[in-house]
Symmetry: C2
Subunit: 139 residues, 2 copies
């Protein structure tokens, strides 16, 4: 690891019925509890003002219950799968445990966004939110 | 802003001819200098072992020259555009300046990945690398 580091400040928190990592679906498309709420901190509300229901957004989270010392893993925690380098997987356990989720905004109410398709444990810090750009396959 | 914070440790660095933010294209699809190299730190090489040329990957970067106190901005820095909340844009200037790039791997040579389509300034820290999952529009 490099000596440099950078500091993330959460902009919000996931409020979800998912509280147990073992019970979480292994990939978002297998089902996430809908809707899930993101509660934003008061200091960033101005930045949310142009988000509308129906928007497709990328949510970046900090997977605060992940293990950061993992470099090889079995995809989906399945012992039948061979171990592979962690950067070829979406495992939460990785040096910088950033979650990437494509969600649909269902409703906005100032500091609260209801979204569909966010698989993250209750209390997970949200660190960024970006639009999905039409025509650009970069979620 | 919340009081909590989390520490990112770079896993690599972008080596690119792009050195000047003013000269950078405003969106990746308008053209990025190809190929660009990502140099990884020795401590994470095991995690890269299953990446192959041709793989489509999501690269997350820390846009270390961005301004973190921006909540409203004009898309693409164009004065003709109305100001909007920063979370409805891909502007690098945002509370946690994380860049999201979908790249194609051209070649791998242990700690060096040559990629196509990475628009980031020379020296930009790389913080994560994930596969693009087939069938899942989540970059």
């Amino acid at each position: 690891m490099s000596e440099a580091h950078y500091e993330l400040t959460p902009i919000g928190t996931v409020r979800s019925p998912l509280t147990d990592r073992a019970a979480a679906p292994k990939q978002g498309y297998e089902g996430s509890p809908d809707p899930v709420v993101i509660e934003f901190v008061p200091g960033v509300l101005e930045g949310l003002e142009d988000i509308r229901s129906g928007d497709q957004m990328v949510v970046l989270t900090w997977l605060d219950r992940a293990h950061r010392d993992v470099l090889r893993t079995r995809p989906r925690d399945d012992p039948a799968n061979p171990e592979v380098g962690v950067f070829s997987t979406r495992s939460p356990d990785r040096p910088n445990p950033i979650g990437l989720h494509v969600v649909e905004v269902l409703s906005t109410d100032r500091g609260r966004l209801q979204v569909r398709n966010l698989e993250a444990l209750d209390g997970t810090p949200v660190i960024d939110l970006k639009p999905v750009l039409p025509g650009v396959p970069d979620g």
